[in-house]
Symmetry: C3
Amino acid sequence: MNKNSYNIMALAPNTSNKRETVCIFGTGDFGRALGHKLIQSGYPVVFGSRNTQTSSLIPKGAEVLSHAEAAQKAAIIIIAIQRQHYSFLTSLAEILHGKVLVDVSNNLKINQYPESNAEYLAQLVPGTKVVKAFNTVSAWALQSGTLDASRQVFVCGDDMEAKQMVMDIVRALGLTPLDQGSLLAAQEIENYPLQLFPMWKFPILLSLGLVTFFFFYSLIRDVIYPYVYESKDFSFFIAISIPNRICPIVALILLALVYLPGVLAAIIQLYRGTKYSRFPDWLDKWMLCRKQLGLVALAFAFLHVLYTLVIPIRSFVRWRMSNRILSLALKNETEPLNTTHAWLSDSYLALGILGFSLFFLLGITSLPSVSNNVNWREFRFVQSKLGYLTLILCTAHTLVYGGNRFLSPSSYRWYLPNAYMLSLIVPCIVLVVKFVLIFPCLDKPLTQIRQGWERNPQYPE
Amino acid sequence: MNKNSYNIMALAPNTSNKRETVCIFGTGDFGRALGHKLIQSGYPVVFGSRNTQTSSLIPKGAEVLSHAEAAQKAAIIIIAIQRQHYSFLTSLAEILHGKVLVDVSNNLKINQYPESNAEYLAQLVPGTKVVKAFNTVSAWALQSGTLDASRQVFVCGDDMEAKQMVMDIVRALGLTPLDQGSLLAAQEIENYPLQLFPMWKFPILLSLGLVTFFFFYSLIRDVIYPYVYESKDFSFFIAISIPNRICPIVALILLALVYLPGVLAAIIQLYRGTKYSRFPDWLDKWMLCRKQLGLVALAFAFLHVLYTLVIPIRSFVRWRMSNRILSLALKNETEPLNTTHAWLSDSYLALGILGFSLFFLLGITSLPSVSNNVNWREFRFVQSKLGYLTLILCTAHTLVYGGNRFLSPSSYRWYLPNAYMLSLIVPCIVLVVKFVLIFPCLDKPLTQIRQGWERNPQYPE
Amino acid sequence: MNKNSYNIMALAPNTSNKRETVCIFGTGDFGRALGHKLIQSGYPVVFGSRNTQTSSLIPKGAEVLSHAEAAQKAAIIIIAIQRQHYSFLTSLAEILHGKVLVDVSNNLKINQYPESNAEYLAQLVPGTKVVKAFNTVSAWALQSGTLDASRQVFVCGDDMEAKQMVMDIVRALGLTPLDQGSLLAAQEIENYPLQLFPMWKFPILLSLGLVTFFFFYSLIRDVIYPYVYESKDFSFFIAISIPNRICPIVALILLALVYLPGVLAAIIQLYRGTKYSRFPDWLDKWMLCRKQLGLVALAFAFLHVLYTLVIPIRSFVRWRMSNRILSLALKNETEPLNTTHAWLSDSYLALGILGFSLFFLLGITSLPSVSNNVNWREFRFVQSKLGYLTLILCTAHTLVYGGNRFLSPSSYRWYLPNAYMLSLIVPCIVLVVKFVLIFPCLDKPLTQIRQGWERNPQYPE
């Protein structure tokens, strides 16, 4: 883009068809892969190397020259060597002056060095325009052309024109450049490929904690208690019965935790009378990982559905049923239909089905390509209105499942209530507070605050 | 982009690294959020305000000046004030002359004013280049940086260069500009954020209508009839049995309605002998919401699957089964295996499974990111060939489910046929007509017409 | 973009708001649709035609002129006529000199002509700049504006500037241009719209082969054998029982085949001591369709889940169960709970549920919009670590399902082992070899080789 102005002023006849030569320092794996891709996309490529022998590994059509010679041939030099070898570049400072250096390096650990590799490079060779790019792309992906993972290339740098030149190259390679701002962002960009689902860490650790707690809780109630008091071996409950107790509990608690921070934020905003003071840090972080919390909850709900649907295939359940029928047959008895029981059983199943289906729908709308195609109002309608409806349905599902067992003393073993009762605490709190917040006397000021109104404005607009 | 030509001619030394200053009129919520984001992306920002006191809410690094002073500092002025306050801009007409004004405003209702806010602005301050943009982005999304919903920014305006400048800013903020043409499009762009799934309205209303009708139909047949004639209380059927009757019926009818307009269009084209005369309006609208119809049908099919799979867990079903076994046991009888019955039961289940799986596949391919990765021929293969196969399988599933019940008088209660018989009408019509249309004597002229051939051409090519 | 330089030098006053005129040769279906869309996007359009009468079909606002006159009005000429009529263009060679010709043509068959249409056009009218574009877009999609399928427009050409001009038009129409390099790529681009899931061909053919084999295998063992020896008619097993035997087997084999090429590649790399020599062709192709293999496997796993979950609804299964209970009732017997049996049954179900859920998760992450949002490390973690975990869980599911049936002679009918035993061969081989490759003595050199190290380097770096 900005190349034009440069071309016109400096070398007017250069409005030819050719792309400009790109120089790559380093003939290592990544350098060669990038060179190969650049040649494919029509860029003349020249490698700078200590050893100028052309090997069979160098992509066809590329020249290999000494570092100094190669650098002179191009305005853009891609530094495909490791940080610890950067120091030799100081000797080339004169040739590199005014050129665009592209730092593609990665580290082995997050925050390995006090400053980012790109900033270190900029300090080493002042007078150059350093741009950070390509570090998120793997050599293998470039070679195989599959690029199954991200096509996004994060680009940052202090010189706008240099950044534009690099972004043009990125686009020409069929990748998507994302401008991340000044070179200060390099640290973050260098850490990015080393991250492993950072937003998922909290939801997954939390759910693992809950799973562990409820596993031992259910183990004590459902396996150890009958073993101690009735000498029955129900150890096989570990395979399905206990997971199918844990999954819905964890799913419901996590789902409620998705909506809890919104409720807390509303209370804080109402109390402070403004939306402009920052939330406490933990609340900010919590709000940012709500999507992940919800998706982990959905995964547990999905497991709960599968575990529930296999119930009638389980050998134990079949045995229990035939045993019950046989004992009735021996007594020559038949049972009348218990309509209340049928109502309870059918309605908790129906609530569960509706809740899960809505939850599944929420999960689909959180797919990036779907959420990109809805407007803000639609997104909020789905995530807020349908989200609360899901929470209500799932809570009702658990309440009806409980039925009249809440007060029955047989549900308490060793004074431990049934696990699902514990799972109802958070959702009920969220729903009650949300219900209170809907009252006009609270909803009206809250809406005003969220539109920018302040109870104690700091200056008149 | 076009900035270059401007730069080179007007202020040649300005080919520096800096982004150009952006001015924002209005220090309200959205103005501040946008200013914050612009500063993050490297733009110098100056606010124009009646009150030039810098408050803690103004993003760091931004200047606050009077409107006139601020406007002079920038070529682009973002008007982040409400339409009713636009009138004061007339007093600044001289300073604003030739500048790019970006209208970011939204209304509270669809088509609130006769002309769009952007057109009103252009009339108010002639001599400026008005561009509509950013109205689809929420302040909250800009502040939090989450941008979970759409990153798409619709841009329109009469001046190509001004539009390009705004689109460059949009890109620099990490958003995706979408050129919507001239300022005439502003009305539509302003209505966009107020829309709530407009394409889904018809499919959802239609399905709600069908659900209501079949709910009362089934209620009469399955709950009221046995209550009146056999004094049996089957009210709990409302929870699962009746929904599981409604869902497959509505799903099948909606699925058939996805393919009906295509069949109607073919008949109209064959009759008219050309593809260039417009279809009636209702048919056009119907054809445009086929995807939504299909997805609503899939949702009902999904519910039907879940409702069906929980059948063996239902307390009523367990009671009925044990009761039947007990009554046989009392009579000391055993049943022989009815192979015909086994065949019917297994094949309607198998047809349902295959139909649902194909339907699910169709749903996945309609995800934007998937359909973007297939070519036109592949898309048509999936949506047309696999779509008809799905319809055939689902219709067969319903037919086999009926089995020999069609003619049995016990299926008619109060002269009402079983609900699933009603659901077969539309799919059977569609399949029969489609089958007729496949015959070469009809298929050949239809293909020609669709390739542009006309029976009565208006002029010789 | 590059237009600027052109504008500034040649026609400085042309920095106006207007888009440049586009000429379209041919008033056929596609030409008109494209013209319509161009006019909507603000381009003046002029048609070149033998017959210059304006018909009602020509989009409003477009002029229709003779070919020569029309060509003179524009710098870009879209050739919307069929290849066999190209020859008349030679007579216009003088007028077309230096212009950009856009070839939008498609063929009826893959590789119909020795050279691509675009290359043929370039040979016919030398002195023009030929760009291939728009052939992947359908006239219908342009007219209806739905563009449900791909918005991607592949562009290739030898002249960079001409290509940029065309890509600007593509963007202005709301489509996504993808630069595919020089005109040599035209052949591939012309073949693209004729392709029907080329990457899916091998996985689908392979799975069909496996399905056929295992269908007859199961038919012999489960239907013909009991018919011959016990005169029992189990023909209805064809509907559900046999598919539910085939699906898991095919799913497991295909899943193992996803990981087999990676293991083979590792062995080849270890043996050769370098990653730079190419793999055999079949291995390359195999590796490129692993994603498709995995998704076909997931489809079979999905069917297996549905077939399994309907088991308790099957009329045959209900009959078998009630029969078993009745025969026990007649003998006045009850069964004790077999804990080992309960353990086996529950744990193979639990393994299946966990395996399928993980597999489903893998499927979701392979959606383009999801995989675009993860970094390379995350993508590899999911596809490799979680993928192997899925394979282990699914293999374990099958092993436990077998339980102690492996050695029982009743599992062998006509010396044919149970089909699931055959399905375990490939997964077990993959898991054993992978397990061996994890040992440090093999893993360390392999990691080095994959980072570019060579046992016999061809030249010293």
